[in-house]
Structure formats: structure tokens, C-alpha cells
């Protein structure tokens, strides 16, 4: 009898097993409900479905770019960088001023493309510099403080950036000319705007480049080592401060690119843009598994898709409930699977 129980493979304590069962049944129920919802809508209005799915994925790409910043920073210093969404907002405002006022391009022509290309570089540098400055001035001093302190500082930083945005952009939303061609192409009955195509053409290489940087370079290795154990990486000769600053720079650059893409695709900027989008992006990061790069991308695209479907489909809650749907997803994920879709759940050791 004893032998049998010994040879049985240990799969977890009773509590862990129960937790796993809850996770599994929750996942099955939720995915069933989701697929029923999508199927009903697909049957009801197939063209509309594809249409809103595409525009949802376009937003999802922007969420993914912002979510990467959250996930990188959380992965390395376990801080929810509330200011990240506002950094994205500042980048969008920066791009608008850069393209429209400083270069003076207002339509899609060679000059417009030149402005766009230079703005992509400039805004990525801008985002990186601002993010590194924030880290240097505020978060670094609080690295060993209790968890509550940096979190509250991040909220304060978010307010500060919000203020800068308010003064820079003005208190009302502003409309800007775009330099990306705004035509449409048709595949059968489905209309795809050129902006969507360009967004993916610019966004996907950025994601791949980031992935390469983190997985295949020495600096990326240092980042991964630092996120695992700061003291040990110091002993291995890694400059932890520099590595963390580099991580913030990467996240900031991604937020900068997202700001430009958002500004060019939507055409409007407002000072309180960062809060809502930042939260959605953070939800994406959590959905995919925070600390996991591809998780952030998958989560972002998924959230964008769900939001797009919810806003545009006949059987859905509609745009008025858009935020509630996203936050409900956040809460459900955190309750049933805090580790996220692609994340591994780690038991905290003492």
C-alpha cells in the first residue's frame, strides 16, 4: 500500500491541485462562452465580423507595443510602472508636434514619409530618454524600499506626465493631419485601410527586433539575468543599474513608437489618453503573462480583438461598456490565472 502511494508521482499539494482544477474549469467555461458568442456573431454578420476584427487587431498592435514596456519593467524590477501609459501619451503629442509643426508635413508625399521616418527615430529616442530619466530620478532611489513606495511614486509620476501633457497638448483633444496614405483596399467585400497595413508593416519588425535584442544579444542576456537575481548578476559582473536603465529605455522606445503609430492612425491626441490606454495595455500584459514578451504581444492583440468585437458587433455590450469589458477580463484573469495565458505560475519562496 505504502509502495503504491510512494510511486505515485507527486503533482502538488491538495491546495495546488484544487487551484489547478479551478483554473482548468474556469478556462473551459470562459473559452466556451467566448466561442459561442463569436460564432453567433459570425453567423449573424460575417463581413462585419471580419471588419471589426481587423480594426480591433490594429488597436491590439498598439496595445501590444505599450504592454511590452509594462512587461519589461515588471519583469526586471517588479514594478507596475503607472507612468508608462502617460509616456505613451506624451510620445503621441511629441509626434504630432514633430511632424506637423517642426517639419511641417501635413499630407502623404515624399516629405511626409521623410517626416514619418525621422519622427519614428526621434520619438523612440524621446520615449527612451524620458523613461530613463524617470527611473534615474525616482525609481532607482526606491529600489529596496517596501513595495508600496515605488508603486505610489509611479502613480505620482503618471500625474506629473499628465500635467505636462495637459500643458503641451491643451485641455481639449486636438485633431492632427496624418502623413500615412489613407486609402482602402478591398479583398472581396472586406475593406482594409492602408493605415492598418502600414501599422503592421512598421509594428511587427519592431516586435521582432525587440525579441532578438532580448533573446540573442549580450545585453538581453544581462537583462534576463538581472530579472532572475540582482545580487547574483552583480557578482557575475553585470552592471545592474545600467541594465535596468537599458530596460527602461527599451520600454520607453516601444511606447514612443506606439505613440507615433497611434497618432498617425487615429489622428487625435488628448492629455488623458494615456490613462485609459495604459490600463488596457497593462491588462494585455497581465493577460499574456506579465514578464513574458510574447505574452504581452498575444495579450495585446487578444484584448484589441475582443474590444473591437465588443464595440462593433450586433450582439455585444457596445462601446459604452468597452472599458468595463476590458477590466472584467483583467479581474477574471487575475482571479483565475494570475500567471497569465503564457506565463508560468511561480510559487513564492521565502
Amino acid at each position: 500500500m505504502a509502495k503504491v502511494s510512494e510511486s505515485k508521482k507527486f503533482t502538488g499539494t491538495p491546495g495546488q491541485l484544487r487551484r489547478q482544477r479551478i483554473e482548468q474549469s474556469g478556462a473551459i467555461v470562459i473559452s466556451l462562452l467566448m466561442s459561442v458568442w463569436m460564432l453567433v456573431n459570425l453567423v449573424k454578420a460575417p463581413e462585419q465580423f471580419v471588419q471589426v476584427a481587423i480594426s480591433g487587431l490594429r488597436n491590439g498592435l498598439i496595445y501590444a507595443l505599450i504592454a511590452l514596456g509594462y512587461t519589461l519593467v515588471y519583469g526586471i524590477i517588479e514594478l507596475i510602472n503607472f507612468a508608462h501609459g502617460d509616456l505613451f501619451m506624451l510620445s503621441a503629442v511629441f509626434s504630432s508636434f514633430f511632424i506637423t509643426y517642426w517639419i511641417g508635413a501635413d499630407q502623404s508625399n515624399p516629405k511626409g514619409w521623410l517626416a514619418f521616418a525621422s519622427c519614428l527615430v526621434a520619438v523612440m529616442i524621446f520615449g527612451a530618454v524620458v523613461n530613463v530619466l524617470i527611473e534615474r530620478l525616482a525609481y532607482r532611489r526606491l529600489r529596496n524600499a517596501p513595495r508600496l513606495a515605488p508603486l505610489i511614486t509611479a502613480v505620482g509620476m503618471s500625474f506629473l506626465l499628465n500635467f505636462i501633457g495637459l500643458k503641451w497638448n491643451g485641455s481639449t483633444p486636438r485633431q492632427w493631419p496624418t502623413v500615412i496614405p489613407s486609402g482602402d483596399i478591398y479583398i472581396g467585400e472586406i475593406r482594409i485601410s492602408l493605415i492598418t497595413l502600414w501599422l503592421f508593416l512598421i509594428g511587427l519588425p519592431l516586435l521582432l527586433a525587440l525579441n532578438y535584442l532580448v533573446t540573442n544579444t549580450k545585453q538581453g542576456k544581462a537583462m534576463r539575468a538581472t530579472s532572475q537575481d540582482k545580487d547574483a548578476s552583480t557578482l557575475m559582473g553585470i552592471n545592474v543599474n545600467k541594465t535596468i536603465a537599458f530596460t527602461f529605455a527599451l520600454g520607453g522606445a516601444m511606447a514612443g513608437a506606439a505613440g507615433l503609430l497611434y497618432q498617425q492612425s487615429i489622428g487625435t491626441t488628448s492629455y488623458n489618453l494615456g490613462f485609459q490606454l495604459g490600463l488596457i495595455a497593462f491588462t494585455s500584459a497581465v493577460l499574456g503573462g506579465i514578464g513574458n514578451l510574447w505574452g504581452a504581444v498575444v495579450g495585446g492583440l487578444l484584448i484589441g480583438l475582443i474590444q473591437g468585437l465588443n464595440d462593433g458587433l450586433p450582439y455585444a455590450f457596445g462601446q459604452a461598456w468597452s472599458q468595463s469589458v476590458v477590466f472584467a477580463i483583467l479581474i477574471i484573469i487575475l482571479v483565475f490565472r494570475p500567471a497569465g495565458l503564457l506565463g508560468k505560475s511561480v510559487t513564492e519562496k521565502v
Binding site: 517588479e78 514594478l79 507596475i80 525616482a138 532611489r141 526606491l142 529596496n144 524600499a145 517596501p146 513595495r147 508600496l148 513606495a149 515605488p150 508603486l151 505610489i152 511614486t153 502613480v155 505620482g156 509620476m157 503618471s158 500625474f159 506629473l160 506626465l161 499628465n162 500635467f163 495637459l166 500643458k167 485641455s171 490613462f275 490600463l279 497593462f282 497581465v286 459604452a320 461598456w321 472599458q323 468595463s324 477590466f327 472584467a328 483583467l330 479581474i331 487575475l334 482571479v335 494570475p338 513564492e348 521565502v350
Partner: protein, 393 residues
Amino acid sequence: MAKTIAPNNVAKSNRKWITGYSIIGLLLFITYQFLLPWEGLPLGIYDAIYRWMPPSAINESLVYIIMALGLNIVVGYAGLLDLGYVAFWAIGGYCAGWFMSEFFYFLNINFLGSVPAEAPGIHINFWMVLLIGGFVCGVFGILIGAPTLRLKSDYLALVTLGFGEIIPQVFFNGENFFGYNISNGTKGIVGVDPIPVGVKNLGPFDFGWKLLIFLLLTAVMVFISLRLRRGRLGRAWLAIREDELAASMMGVPLMRTKLAAYAVGAFAGGLGGVAFATHVNGVYAERFNFTISIFLLAMVVLGGMGNVWGVILGAFILSWVNGNGLTAFGQLYNEQFGTDIDFASFTFLLFGLVLIFMMLFKREGLLPESRLKLMLHEDELDQIDASSKSGDK
């Protein structure tokens, strides 16, 4: 024999504040109820009070103090970051809107209400609505907390933030909530019953008497905070705040204790919500936004997490600055120097800087609580420890 009834610190220090509080409260009440309408008052003082601290501003800051005290129980005592406290304010406010107005015009329920019995709508006595609001919020606090309190601290903060966004949006879109009108949507519920105090009914402009009522509510919250802090539950909260794992090893039931913190904190939110609805004589959905949650958090952080008097000070300062001080200062500055600066737009900057600088340089707040101070400077103490050890070698 004398030794056994030696002065009990707990009882003593718990009562001392009542005298001072009553004196200050009475002074405020006399100033606003009798001195301001008095014709013999020099015009300069009258103008100064109206410019810097008009009667409505002081009442509003008391409402903020009530809610900051509630948030202090969650954040300061139990150490759980709550970024969605505005949800409780909204629920409390709508409790007042539902039970003390003509919103449900098709009903006619009057229970000791302050309006004629034939008036349409539900009219329940203010004091009972206070309790109803408090308890409804408490139940919501438990409902929100129960599935989520198992989470790590920053995930918990996010879930509260999510609820803090969802619940106001429910009210915002509430004009058509699955076919029912539960909140009148963006139009809001206008007109809340006056407060009955036996001899008369206090309408929206009886600032002086309502000041007395808000002072009373604040005193109740202070009393609750101080008593709980000393008791078994309060000590369990502090233990969880300082080290959750150690606390659970010592036999503190984590879930129940955290839920209690949530429920009590939410109760205060409900009180504040009902009080605010009577203060502005209505409930308006667009008021309940994320900024309010952060605003309350900044009050708690500025004053000193965990210290009741610190929180009151912080809440008073910030609500004054936000409500009246900044605009009054801006007016004075613009008149003096002939400039045209919009000072009200600087609130974001101000709150951001308060949060950042307090966290960087004075984490324990203006009036620190000694235990929290030790905890928040653990990192520096560790460093001192380490350097003195290496010095010994």
C-alpha cells in the same frame, strides 16, 4: 490593590482626543453658524473667510476627511493598496440618490422621511440611509475583496482599480442598464432630501448645521479608527501590513482580517458618499473618476499612513488646496502681479509632486506613525546594519 487598577493606557489615550476635537469643532461651528451672519463682523474678516475658506469648502473637506479615514484603514492599517476607492463613494452616493429622492417616482415609500408623505419616490430618514449606504458599501467591499484578496499586493491594487473603473461606468451608463434606469446616467439624480434633525430640516444651504453633522460623522470615523487600531482586529491588520507571512504563521486569519479591513474601509466610503450627496444636493456620475481615488490616496500618504490625525491633516490640506485654496491663491496672485495664470490646472502637478516627494524623502508622512516609519525605512536600516557590521571586522 492600587496597582491592579493602574492607569490603562488604552482607555486613557483613546478618550483624550474627544475634548480637543469638541473644542475645535465647536469653534468652527460658532464661526460659521453665528459669527459669519453677525452684522458686527468686520468686513475684512468676512471677506477673508469667504475667500479662503467658505462654508461649503469646509463641509466638503470634512466629507473628504471621512473618506480618507476609511481609505486609511485599508491602506494605512492593513497595508493593502486600494486604487478604486471611488467605487464606494459612488455606491454610497447612489444609495442616497435612491432612498432619499424622487428618483423612483413610481413608488411612494416614506419612512420617517423629511418630506411630506404624499411625495413620490422613496424617502427614508437620512440617519438610516447613512447606515444603509455604509452597509451596502461594506457588502460590496466584501464582494470585491473575497475573490481578489488572495492576490499579491500589486495585483490587488489593479483589481481594485478595475472595480473602481467598472462601478462608476455602470452608473454612468445606468440610464439603460439592461432596460432599467438605475442612475439617470449622465443627467444624475438632482435633489436629495434635507437632513431631519428633529426640530428642523437641513437643506443644501444650511452650511453651519450641516458642518456640525459632518463633524459628528468624522468623530465617529475617528472613534472607529482609534478603537479598532487598539483592538484585536487592528493589531492583526498591523501584523499583516508588516509581514503577511509571519502574521499568518502566528495564527492571524489572513482572508478574514483583510476582508474586515475592506469592509470597514468601504463602510466609511458609504458614509462619505451619502454625506456628499446631501452636501451637493444630488448625485452626478461624472464626478466619480479615477482622479478621486488617487486624490484620496495622496491625502493618506501626505498626512501619514496609519495615523488618524495625520490623515485628517493631509485630507484637510489637499481638499482645501484642490477645492478652494489654489483658486483663491491664483486670484490673489493674478491680482497682485497682473498676470493671467490658470492655477486650477496645476492640481495634477501638485498631486504628482506630493506623491513623488513624499515617497522619496518622507515616506511616513507629515505626522508619522512610529511603527510605520520603522517599516518604511527598513532598507536604510538594513544598510546601516550592514555597514556597522562590516566596520566591526
